[in-house]
Symmetry: C2
């Protein structure tokens, strides 16, 4: 059977190895495995969220409230935006998919950073769009602007802080760039890690309500998978002007968020104190990684997220090191598929980080 | 901002009204509302599923096992198929979306029954495909065949038992039709209610393993949303030959099923006895609807599902009756948007059905 030719060039996303897989492949006891590969919050979610989800277990049979009123109200209040400026996705991933399906098509261009979140390319290829990438590892606005003028892309992705490198883009620089972009180009700011950037240095943070107030063509993405500790529940969101949201709704499948996930995300927003404590701990522990790297003479990219990217010296091979660590039950992300000789490590609990240092010490 | 022109003709799916909405709109107490609108299992899911989900609440922070090994193994064993003949979707809905995105495109045709599940058309329009429909309310294979010869569709949808009418298609008739279809046309058998048909009369049931063994071009869809009582958890699946599954995987987003949903569906398969008891009760209660309709002189379409479709006489208006019932806290589905003067009612518990008869009695 023949399928659409746009599928020919698609490679599937390489996910962080789940703990179950390492148990199966390497025969390591589940309790001896430490996963620092998917930038999950090592403290999980607020205890209030767990309690709330437990209390509605009987509702698993009922289709979700597809108007998502509870979650949309909570998010609108958090951000000071209107409900029609908001769409919920099964992870911010799904909002990326909506945007690409609504705006890009065969023959259109999608512009993104040299090294950035892999799903932009995968979804763009699904609709047959052409991928244009900048040259530098960091987001350089002048490179973006040159390529914008040359290719007139339908969508520009700005991932800040960037995944998988962790570096941030100054809000001022980014906004000065967006000011120069025509209104028919959709600029997507992927802020999956924005809570961390906002905590570390507000100069690297943008406020969605300011974006919506000022720009007709900007879509901001946020997620519950990282700081809010709900990676397993698949809830993210997009914030933009009402006409953009209306278009994205047309490609949204009904019931795209589970009944339990809607409740979990709604209640997570009621315990911001928990999230802020987790973020504070994250940066305290991150300092230990920076110290470790410094002692070892390894470059660490300055991170505005809950992970660090260690750029290895030439004589060390990131794939081999990730593999060695995996055999010992330590799951990190090898970035060789992104063209980097680097490993990405999620900041874990203090004990998990101890274990990382202990296992990595002899390898570096 | 301009969006893809394929979006222009898309109307959003009209979901069954959730209980929360009726509480908000009509100010009725939540406990006084009976929802018989979305074909959920009124007994919910197996108690074993609830226990299992409760026990892994701490895992909400962890991304799902994207290889879905536990659920795929359980489903493969249930159906006697190989793991590479299976794909899991966020509801069978999402597998429909995958199939359309992988196979249909602007200019191609998608053939479906006159009255059938609304999402086939919505997804097909998203990719700009043309919709071709038969004339009769029931699936008539000779009508499908004539239109197949005329339009050479890329996809044919057969929904059996059909939603929203509940009638079934004899397996023998369906297979004789598929035998005549060329291998480059994808035939999708939507078996969301197949568990009910299999219980009532095996002549109306197909076995996915037989389909995979015989046909290269057939995709069978199943779901946990109906008989398995997990409508809120968004888990469905597609079963087909390995090359079809491989193509669908290319348009599958990673982590499309939540961590809790994977566990819920896996454990649901361990308690088939619960599901069979629910189905037995369903048909016992359905007889009461048939009796009620007969006394009232109303046509009821013979149903192989967990719902009945009551075709109203000309002097009664289905929209008005559904609206009257809604004001009293009884949610059913008006089928006027499908061009039918009919209401679709999910078979509830005995008490819920009593309430339906009591409230409907003065209206019909």
């Amino acid at each position: 059977m023949k399928f659409n030719s746009t599928l020919d060039s698609i490679k599937s996303y390489e996910a962080g190895k789940p703990i179950e897989l390492v148990v199966r492949e390497y025969g390591i006891n589940k309790e001896d495995i430490v996963k620092l590969a998917s930038n999950e919050n090592p403290f999980g979610c607020s205890p209030k969220v767990k309690e709330a989800v437990r209390s509605i277990i009987d509702n698993m049979a009922l289709y979700p409230d597809d108007s998502m009123v509870k979650l949309k109200t909570a998010l609108s209040n958090k951000y000071g935006i209107k409900s029609n400026e908001l769409i919920i996705g099964a992870g911010s991933d799904q909002v990326i998919e909506f945007a690409i399906h609504a705006k890009a098509h065969e023959g259109s261009c999608v512009l993104m950073n040299s090294v950035t979140f892999a799903m932009y390319e995968i979804y763009a290829k699904q609709v047959g769009a052409q991928i244009i990438r900048t040259a530098s590892r960091e987001h350089k606005m002048e490179e973006f602007y040159t390529l914008y003028l040359e290719h007139k892309p339908s969508i520009i992705f700005l991932c800040t802080p960037n995944n998988p490198t962790g570096d941030g883009l100054l809000a001022e620089e980014m906004l000065a760039f967006i000011d120069k972009i025509d209104n028919d180009t959709l600029v997507i700011i992927d802020g999956a890690y924005m809570e961390y950037a906002r905590f570390k240095d507000t100069a690297y943070a943008v406020e969605p309500r300011d974006l919506v107030a000022k720009y007709e063509n900007v879509l901001f993405l946020g997620t519950f998978s990282k700081a809010y500790g709900l990676g397993g529940m698949r809830v993210g969101y997009g914030i933009a002007s009402a006409p953009i949201i209306e278009a994205l709704y047309k490609v949204r499948p009904p019931f795209n968020i589970t009944t339990l996930s809607l409740e979990a995300a709604s209640v997570a927003l009621e315990d911001e104190a928990f999230v802020q404590e987790c973020i504070a701990d994250n940066f305290k522990e991150m300092a230990r990684y920076e110290e470790f790297a410094s002692v070892k003479g390894i470059d660490v990219i300055e991170s505005y997220t809950n992970f660090v990217t260690l750029s290895l010296p030439e004589e060390k091979n990131s794939s081999k090191i990730a593999q060695e660590l995996l055999k010992k039950g330590m799951i990190v992300r090898d970035l060789s598929s992104y063209g980097l000789n680097a490993i990405r490590v999620t900041i874990g609990t203090s004990a998990q980080n101890d274990r990382f240092f202990q296992l990595t010490e002899p390898l570096l």
